[in-house]
């Protein structure tokens, strides 16, 4: 069972990602912002984390940083969903510890393809 944590403050985005991943055989847990995600992460294990960047309370990059601080998440692939591709944002994501990114809007196929780059 491949457990995935999906974090996004947009309900429709959560629905899209969770439906796509669910149908592909992943077991999806949803969180609506960084703080909620962090709490879930402290009590559960995941093979993959997919998170939006712009969220209230705790943004995606801060979440990535904090996750990397948890022993269980040291090497977990973390993908950030972003609408920008400029180099500065890429660098910031990587510095925070993100494995990679996916540019929004994406179609569900692309999501699965990108995930296959980090998860079997």
């Amino acid at each position: 069972m491949k457990e995935v944590l999906v974090v996004d403050d947009s309900p429709s985005m959560r629905q899209l990602v969770s439906t796509t991943l669910g149908q592909a055989g992943f077991k999806v847990t949803l969180a609506e912002d960084g703080e909620a995600a962090l709490q879930i992460a402290q009590k559960n294990q995941f093979k993959l984390v997919v998170t939006d960047v712009n969220m209230p309370r705790m943004d995606g990059l801060t979440l990535v940083e904090k996750l990397r601080g948890l022993p269980a998440f040291k090497f977990t692939p973390i993908l950030v969903l972003t609408t920008e591709v400029d180099p500065a944002k890429k660098t910031r994501a990587k510095t925070a510890g993100a494995t990679g990114w996916l540019v929004k809007p994406f179609d569900p196929q692309k999501l699965l393809g990108t995930i296959s780059r980090v998860l079997r």
Binding site: Q23, P56, K74, T83
Partner: protein, 684 residues
């Protein structure tokens, strides 16, 4: 896996989400305008626009995404302090919100939106950008030379900490292998001795040979995330003739915009509803209780006739009582699901007031009270328009211009209060202004001119005020764009009455006006008092009953126009002989032993003469209009436990009619066919 199905479902939920996001943006923009230049407000605005852009793009609403991109960019500039929030800019943002609402609603109903208007607003937005930035949020795929069946040599030397961000070189090679055929050669020359080996570090590097007709870019793309964390060389060993292929910008198709204008829609009559989880949990509990009761009763299923004794019967009775309780709770619980807080409707008003303030050149302050008061969803949807009209009326006619207010010694800024609360089983909405109040004289004169009242008629001030609810009535000297077309007030009344509600008005000239709307909390179920009139059973809504009493003949008196009045605790209340009203045989000539039921509606009380008070029970209201036709004086019908039909009396109508004189809804006895017909129709 059907992506179309996923897309359609996501589109629907995005539409609902977008409505909320746009409302949030509007609210925050208004906050910004009040001078709350809080950083958090701008951030919230940016996040909302960002979400709309992302979501709309994902749904294939490209035009929306493109437009929102410009808005988002401007907001980004604002939050990075590179752009200031001027009133003009805020107005422009508000206009953008309107555009987006129009575009989204057009997309939902499948019509086209006004592209010209959207383009115009977009241009204005783009003009505000520090450097001109042209729209498309999608990265263009430039022309790239394609080659056939090349051999690529890729040397991939990752840094030691490569694995630390969760990257997996092997999976990247798998991805590369999808481009063609791949040969992988690993180098272990940098591996240290076992004791020095840290499993989290990567000491390997690879040489990869890929035979593919892909472009160099495709290979680079596989390593896009890690380009800074490794040494990567990509060489093409052989190459065949190049084809220059231009790949067009990939864009999912959005709505094609011709010039058709879209109509602005009012509060969405969506087919879905948001329910708080507490309500759902409560329901789950109630169903649990119901299941317990059911199994209690189910136990008796196994009993044979001999097993039934007095004790068993008592136990069954208990269970049945329990069942009644469970059912009632469940019923109320489910009803509550359809209830939404009135804030859903109230939240339109800050924007409306803001716009009108500008338009009319007056100053208002809007106060909202009781926003959490809950009403049935359908009622809310229907009451929104009348409220808008009443508010516009208030602002247009009620509240005076700043100078006039100052001259009267009032504060320059007028106050409009929208208040909602529950009272005796009804929801009450009040629209209170501290404006000029109703001009009684003017109304009276207008009414006389229109022939609604005679010159000699004496009416109380309240009665004169109530005249403004009559069709066609308007004392506005000229029809202003905002209101006063004379078709408004009676439409308001009609809509409220259609909801089984009532409207009343109280005003003090010079001080202000209060319009009060009473609405039932739910239209489908009624707590009813069964009464007997003649040989028929009717129903009065329990909540409208104040008390019932035996007539004390000395308290009955006859007033001017032969109307009977009852002195109840020193206050005269009109007496209504329901037999007359309903055209039924009077079973009594005088009132000596009569039963009076005192009913209340909107502050006015009336005494109804009935023959007998029967049981109280919950009834399911069936619409007469839907099954037969609208009948004046009746609010619906229901089927009693024994299968007979009982008609439900329209208390507000009866009370209102009684106040104006003796009401008679049905022609007298010889046309009882009408009543019987109504009953038969209701039973079918």
């Amino acid at each position: 896996m059907d992506f179309d199905q996923i897309a359609a479902a996501v589109r629907e939920s995005f539409q609902a989400e977008a409505v909320d996001l746009l409302d949030t943006m509007e609210a925050k923009l208004l906050e910004l305008e009040q001078g709350d230049a809080d950083e958090e407000v701008v951030h919230a605005l940016f996040r909302a626009a960002h979400s709309i852009k992302g979501g709309s793009g994902t749904c294939g609403l490209t035009a929306v995404a493109n437009f929102t991109h410009v808005v988002e960019t401007l907001l980004d500039e604002m939050r990075e302090q590179r752009l200031k929030a001027t009133p003009e800019l805020i107005s422009l943002f508000l206009k953008s919100v309107d555009c987006l609402r129009g575009m989204l609603s057009a997309a939902e109903s499948g019509v086209d939106f006004d592209a010209a208007e959207v383009a115009a607003v977009q241009q204005l937005l783009e003009a505000e950008l520090p450097q001109a930035e042209s729209g498309s949020p999608e990265p263009e795929q430039p022309a790239r030379p394609r080659s056939d069946g090349n051999l690529w040599k890729v040397v991939f030397k990752p840094q030691r900490e490569f694995l630390h961000r969760g990257n997996n070189p092997l999976l990247m090679f798998h991805e590369l292998a999808e481009l063609g055929s791949l040969a992988v050669l690993v180098s272990v020359e940098d591996l240290p001795a076992f004791e020095e080996l840290t499993p989290e570090d990567l000491y390997l590097w690879w040489t990869l040979e890929l035979t593919s007709d892909c472009a160099q870019q495709d290979i680079e793309e596989v390593f896009a995330w890690v380009e800074d964390d490794c040494e990567l060389t990509i060489e093409q060993i052989e190459s065949t003739a190049e084809e220059a292929a231009v790949s067009a910008t990939a864009e999912s198709s959005g709505p094609r915009p011709p010039a058709a204008a879209s109509k602005p829609t009012n509060p969405k009559q969506t087919g879905s509803i948001r329910v708080s989880i507490d309500k759902v949990d409560a329901l789950i509990n109630m169903v649990g209780e119901l299941v317990i009761t059911q199994s209690m009763l189910g136990a008796f299923d196994d009993y044979s006739y001999e097993d039934f004794d007095a004790q068993t019967v008592d136990r069954i009775r208990e269970s049945i009582t329990q069942l009644a309780q469970n059912t009632r709770e469940l019923q109320e619980g489910v009803m509550r699901i359809r209830m939404l807080p009135i804030s859903v409707v109230f939240q339109r008003f800050p924007r409306l007031v803001h716009d009108l303030s500008g338009q009319l050149g007056k100053k208002f302050e809007l106060v909202l009270e009781g926003e959490q008061t809950e009403l049935d969803k359908t009622v809310l949807e229907q009451v929104s328009e009348p409220l808008v009209h009443l508010v516009r009326n208030s602002l247009d006619h009620g509240l005076e211009a700043p100078e006039a207010r100052l001259a009267k010694g009032k504060p320059e800024t007028g106050t409009l209060t929208l208040s909602a609360f529950h009272r005796s089983g009804n929801a009450v909405i009040e629209i209170r202004d501290d404006g000029a109040g109703l001009n009684t004289e003017k109304i009276r004169n207008k009414a006389i001119a229109q022939g609604l009242v005679g010159e000699k008629d004496s009416l109380s001030e309240d009665e004169i005020h109530a005249l403004i609810f009559r069709p066609g009535f308007s004392t506005a000297d000229q029809v202003s764009d905002v209101s006063g077309r004379g078709v408004g007030m009676d439409v308001v009344v009609r809509k409220i009455k259609a909801l089984s509600g009532d409207v009343s008005i109280k005003s003090v000239e010079g001080k202000g006006t209060t319009v009060r709307i009473h609405l039932p909390l739910t239209m489908a179920i009624l707590d009813g008092q069964l009464i007997r009139i003649g040989d028929r059973i009717f129903i009065l809504p329990l909540l409208s009953i104040v008390e019932s009493l035996q007539v004390n003949h000395s308290n009955v008196s006859v007033v001017a126009n032969a109307a009977e009045v009852y002195r109840l605790r020193n206050e005269p209340k009109p007496i209504v002989r329901l037999h007359d009203v309903l055209g039924l045989d009077s079973s009594r000539a005088d009132l000596s032993d009569a039963l009076l039921v005192v009913v209340e509606n909107g502050g006015d009380q009336v005494c109804l003469v009935v023959d007998e008070l029967l049981a109280q029970q919950q009834v399911v209201v069936k619409s007469l209009e839907a099954n037969y036709r609208r009948v004046e004086g009746l609010a619906g019908a229901t089927i009693l436990g024994d299968g007979t039909v009982a008609l439900i009396l329209d208390v507000p109508r009866v009370v209102a009619a009684a106040r104006q004189g003796s009401p008679r809804f049905f022609p007298p006895a010889n046309n009882q066919a009408e009543l019987g017909e109504t009953q038969t129709a209701a039973a079918s």
